[in-house]
């Protein structure tokens, strides 16, 4: 089975959408502080492994060099991550874009959740861990969030 067939199976799963899609007017890109929020199930060295159904998050310092991809699901390629973490968590690319002046700066704080959640309502993320992560990003004076899956 290829990713194409896998996508057709997983693409039909239930998901949660808000009745009204929120919209925040962005600051100019070259003035924006950018954070990555990934659903790849990353962890830093001393964090616990991820388990199916975990709707919490982990904080990733900008200079973390001991990241592990620890998502519970086996249904995606891990080799790309081992070869180059930027294929999932493009922190080096953001630094380059900041040096070029295309984005304003790279945030001190980044965040990982874990996707492929069995509870498609994502109640904990919507009501608890999502707002808690937003608070961290606010404290880090983030303007723009880049979300990456796996």
């Amino acid at each position: 089975m290829s990713d194409k067939q896998l996508r057709s199976k997983l693409g039909g799963l239930e998901g949660f959408a808000f009745d009204q899609i929120p919209w925040t007017a962005p600051k100019p890109l070259h003035e924006s502080r950018v954070a990555i929020v990934t659903t790849a199930g990353l962890r830093v060295e001393d964090d616990a492994d991820w388990n199916a159904g975990d709707q919490g998050f982990t904080e990733i310092p900008r200079d973390a060099d001991d990241l592990t991809l620890a998502h519970y699901s086996p249904n995606f390629d891990r080799v790309g991550w081992v070869l180059d973490k930027n294929v999932v968590f493009p922190i080096d690319r953001l630094h380059e874009l900041a040096e070029e002046g295309i984005i304003g700066s790279v945030a001190e704080t980044h965040i990982s959740f874990m996707g492929a959640q069995p509870d498609h309502t994502l109640e904990t993320i919507r009501l608890d861990s999502g707002p808690a992560a937003a608070k961290l990003l606010t404290d880090a004076e983030v303007d723009l969030v880049l979300l990456t899956p796996v």
Binding site: M1, S2, D3, K4, Q5, L6, R7, G11, G12, L13, E14, G15, F16, A17, F18, I21, P22, W23, T24, A25, P26, L29, V37, T39, D49, T68, L69, S73, P74, N75, F76, V79, G80, W81, V82, L83, D84, N86, V87, V88, P90, D92, R93, E96, L97, I102, I125, R126, G130, P131, A133, A134, L137, T138, D143, L144, V145, L147, T148, P149
Partner: protein, 233 residues
């Protein structure tokens, strides 16, 4: 991920999401999404290709110019995985004098796995066991293939996580054994179809399914892409 994007947008951030499964992003409808038909697990497309990754990010950030949303745009370049094309990868000859052949195979791969660590400095082995423990874990899975119940074997943790450690160990060894960096899922297919270790996990998975074991414990022993038709009976 689309729902999470909306939570963060609602909290006052502008968000841009890279999408990997179009059906899910349509269902969850984040404010701005760039759908990239890249291998699952490689959302920026190409490892060690900074220019390619940069272009994806530039395209994603260009969505911020849209006056209203939701916005869902398809990236014009697609990349296929190689699940149907196992990596061409030599397996070092192993010493089977005092180990079962599957465990001996894994022992023989340890030097290659260590070379990958020295080169890349990253591993996805270690959810439950270390690379050095992989041969012992294959002994345990071999007992399932011989007919023992998985619950009687005494796994040191969640068997799906141990199976992930085994698969990831083989894939990471393959990085150093192949001539080119493995394309997406080619090392996975090599593991399942060409190695004793992969065949052991596949057989154990099917035996556990047929024995009526709880769905989670047999289903997540291998990626869905490697659930071959033999277990659909």
């Amino acid at each position: 991920m689309g729902t999470l994007a909306s939570v963060l947008e609602h909290a006052g951030f502008a968000t841009v999401a890279l999408s990997s499964i179009r059906g899910q992003i349509e269902t969850t409808s984040p404010p701005r999404a760039l759908h990239c038909e890249f291998p699952l697990g490689r959302p920026l497309g190409k490892p060690n290709d900074a220019d390619f990754q940069r272009e994806v990010l530039i395209a994603a950030f260009s969505l911020l110019e849209e006056p209203d949303g939701p916005v869902l745009v398809d990236y014009p370049i697609s990349i296929e995985d190689d699940a149907d094309a196992p990596l061409s990868c030599p397996i070092p000859p192993s010493d089977t004098s005092d180990r079962n052949p599957t465990a001996a195979e894994a022992l023989g791969l340890l030097p290659a796995w260590r070379r990958t660590q020295e080169t890349y400095g990253r591993s996805t082995v270690g959810k439950v066991v270390t690379a050095e423990q992989v041969p012992d874990m294959l002994d345990l899975f071999t007992r399932i293939t011989d007919g023992e119940s998985w619950e009687d074997i005494g796994f040191p943790g969640d068997p799906t996580k141990i199976a992930a450690d085994i698969k990831n160990f083989y894939e990471e060894a393959a990085i150093s054994l192949s001539n080119l960096p493995p394309s997406a899922r080619s090392a996975e297919s090599w593991f399942v179809t060409e190695t004793l270790g992969g065949q052991t996990i596949q057989t154990a998975r099917i035996k556990m399914k047929e024995a009526g074991v709880k769905f989670y414990f047999w289903y997540y022993l291998l990626p869905m892409t490697q659930h071959h038709e033999v277990d659909t009976k």
